[in-house]
Symmetry: C3
Subunit: 337 residues, 3 copies
């Protein structure tokens, strides 16, 4: 089996270090495509064999031909859609790890809702109009954008005031579910048809995660507006008695993706972003159908990864292991698009 023939590549952002570090651990060639401002940064790391610089991420198609000659396999992450948009992802002619048909279902909140419903996963109640809402509500813009497009409203008047200056005119209104957040990092193998939970995290959001350190009385007098911009992640483990349902939810998402999206369905890394309520129920906020940034906490191993693997395995490395197995079994067509 000649891995030297293949180069694992990704865009310089999000979880690129983890992906290429994992690829190198599995002895692949590694290549990173980035913009001039980040070139110096990525060149610090010796596990990246080649850094290719393009003027802007939108120029990605101009290097496709060159990358094709290098037998590149592209690993998409959260910045691919943010930087290239769904269409440029779909039109990519390079070997692409994952099922591009899932992209539409990840991006479109109505499709997500249908997918989660079909998977029998609870969601916060959602309202067509503010008139029908139960308060408090959280209002979210459509599309990714790293968590900036949110606001809370405790009554209709507050909603009306805030919506005027909201940056998006495509949004959804959900009941605000009071609980704690948990992001579950899955990996589903299309080669063995088996599911692993590799790790878990919670997001670290500014300024939301700083508010609690300010006494209530001071908060009120300084008139704070909460924001939910994701700037990091912190690790968590889940109560073991809730793990069976966590695995089941992942399997139901995969099963319904095969029914709703395409035969191949969802595979590789994905994430279910949940809120856990005091009755110990999970409510899904979102499905991310690719590696998520919370896995960056576990670039070596994780409390869950070691239950599935005898060596240190990150999500990035797990992707490389899957590709390696597909190469050796001559099944690359099962995992590339």
């Amino acid at each position: 089996m000649d891995y030297q023939k293949y180069t694992i590549a990704t865009l310089g952002s999000h979880s690129a270090l983890q992906i290429l570090h994992g690829a190198k651990a599995e002895n692949f060639n590694t290549l990173l495509i980035t913009t001039p401002d980040r070139e110096k940064f990525y060149k610090r790391f010796s596990f990246i064999d080649e850094v290719k610089t393009i003027p802007t991420f939108a120029d990605f198609p101009t290097v496709e031909k060159d990358l094709k000659d290098k037998n590149v396999i592209i690993i998409p992450h959260g910045s691919f859609v943010a930087y290239l948009g769904v269409e440029k992802n779909k039109n990519m002619t390079l070997a692409y790890f994952g099922n591009k048909a899932v992209l539409d279902w990840e991006q479109d909140r109505d499709k997500q809702k249908k997918w989660l419903l079909e998977s029998k996963i609870n969601m916060p109640p959602q309202y067509d109009s503010i008139e029908k809402a139960q308060f408090p509500v959280i209002v979210k813009s459509f599309g990714a954008a790293g968590g900036a497009g949110y606001f809370l409203a405790k009554e209709k008047q507050e909603f009306e005031n805030k919506i005027k200056t909201f940056k998006s005119n495509k949004y959804i209104i959900q009941k605000y579910i009071l609980g704690v957040t948990l992001y579950i990092h899955y990996f589903y193998s299309a080669l063995t048809n088996s599911l692993e939970i590799l790790s878990m995290d919670r997001r670290y959001e500014t300024n939301a995660d700083g508010l609690g350190r300010i006494p209530a009385i001071m908060q009120q007098e300084i008139d704070i507006d909460p924001s939910y911009v994701v700037v990091g992640n912190s690790p968590l483990v889940l109560r073991e008695s809730m793990l069976p349902e966590a695995y089941d939810m992942g399997e139901r998402l995969v099963a319904s993706s095969k029914k709703l999206i395409s035969d191949k369905g969802l595979f590789g890394p994905f994430c279910l972003e949940t809120i856990i309520t005091p009755d110990m129920n999970f409510y899904a906020i979102e499905v991310s159908a690719r590696i998520v940034a919370g896995t960056n906490l576990f670039t070596d191993t994780s409390p869950y990864s070691i239950f599935h693997h005898e060596k240190p395995v990150s999500t990035g490395r797990r992707i490389a292991m899957e590709i390696k197995q597909a190469i050796s079994e001559n099944k690359l067509e099962l995992i590339l698009d």
Copy 2:
């Protein structure tokens, strides 16, 4: 030394994955007893040699004879008392890792109080009646139950209102100590008479750990009632200058257990659940005389475990190491009950 003769077994919940993963790392046979709804889940993990399914956990005594023939050593965890009750634990005829005499002292809050006092460990002031209380108070039901049986009251009237609908009529009233929580995971070896701190955590409780992300003004208008249901854990380390006292508290607990409980006293894994106040004092909330769920963060190694061991050691693996040593030194009677 023939480990093949022994099988390490536990109930399918709480920290079972860690316990059996650690046992397998030390080359023991592993067996899990669980209920039908969790059978599929535990069969995912190859380090579990056998999954034995019983209709309900209460049916455990029906399989004891069979387990005895397999030379099983049972590792108890937090779900043993929750599912079987203290009596069924005591009446178990299988080899049981730990000292069953400690169970009464763990379950009975009055005995816990006596034990902590004898160990010269601070506790929050406790009140016989609400008339004598200094507010705010926290009211806790007797027994385990995963942290659900709590409420806060800032004055007598609030206590009177909340106690009416409280699910338990056996409870204690404590002064609410304002600080931060820290759970210290100890292991005391009855073979070497030495203490290790293996790791530390804080609990992740719904909805208490979500409250701080909601601005004070919104909290007030949506009329939030806090709850403290433990659904996970997150990692911590302690300021090094406070570590000597953390070790000393553990040794004092062991020493006083030998005096108060029985000659063998407390050994194996245990946990002191503390609040640290701004004057850097520890207040003990509870002693858990067995492996706690927070150790599930450290199924590989931990920032403290590596100070005692040259290989990756979880609390689960540490238990297996102790059993292995006892077997090789012919001292199993020192650690089994």
Copy 3:
């Protein structure tokens, strides 16, 4: 290369376990100097070859002669200045890892400000007098002291009330920046002139990190005063798109230290203590020009350390690796003072 000739030593506090554990991993002799109350504690750990006890940390100079005979290299940490003061550090005649000239710039807030400005790192606006302040403000005493010397004020009157009982009469007034904290642990090699980010954390402060779990309405009625006493740390990773700036800030600090402080400038471990605002900007609160306690989370490895090293490397071990390289290249004079 004969490491047996050298002994790595430090004072028994702060990050001593990590430092000596890392030194032993690199095969150095290890020695710890501590006070009688901590002697038993440090003797628990077999990677510490010798524990030397002195009546108080201030008696350190009395053992210098003896240590010199043992060919000791001293690794300073946060407790060195706290226990010995800047002058005793500067007057130390033992081989001292680091640049003592940096101590003045770490201790003096005006010099820190100059250093950060020169490094083009944002700082919270600072006010000469309360008359000119934009509220809310945070008031900080000069010097270290583990985070105890702080208070918040939302208006002038509150400032006037609190300053009366403030323990320090040397303080600074800063605008309180609303965001989330992130502590970045750097290591700059004076041998290779290259920078590594080894890990990141946030502090765990009592009672500030407990406040958020108390509902706003209860906080108000029990009249809470926040405090910021550091008793631990919890792990974090940063959004990858912000990592390039995190590295750049570190390099700018090193570059300006060579200009402002001395030719050697800042090298070895250091930390930038930041607040990240919702516009994803870093604001520096402080530079610590030595190993910080947050690295104690990563005594084995860290999510960032593995991007620079193929083996498990803590900050403590990284220091030992640097010393080892300097010995083998005959360049100890580059890293000792």
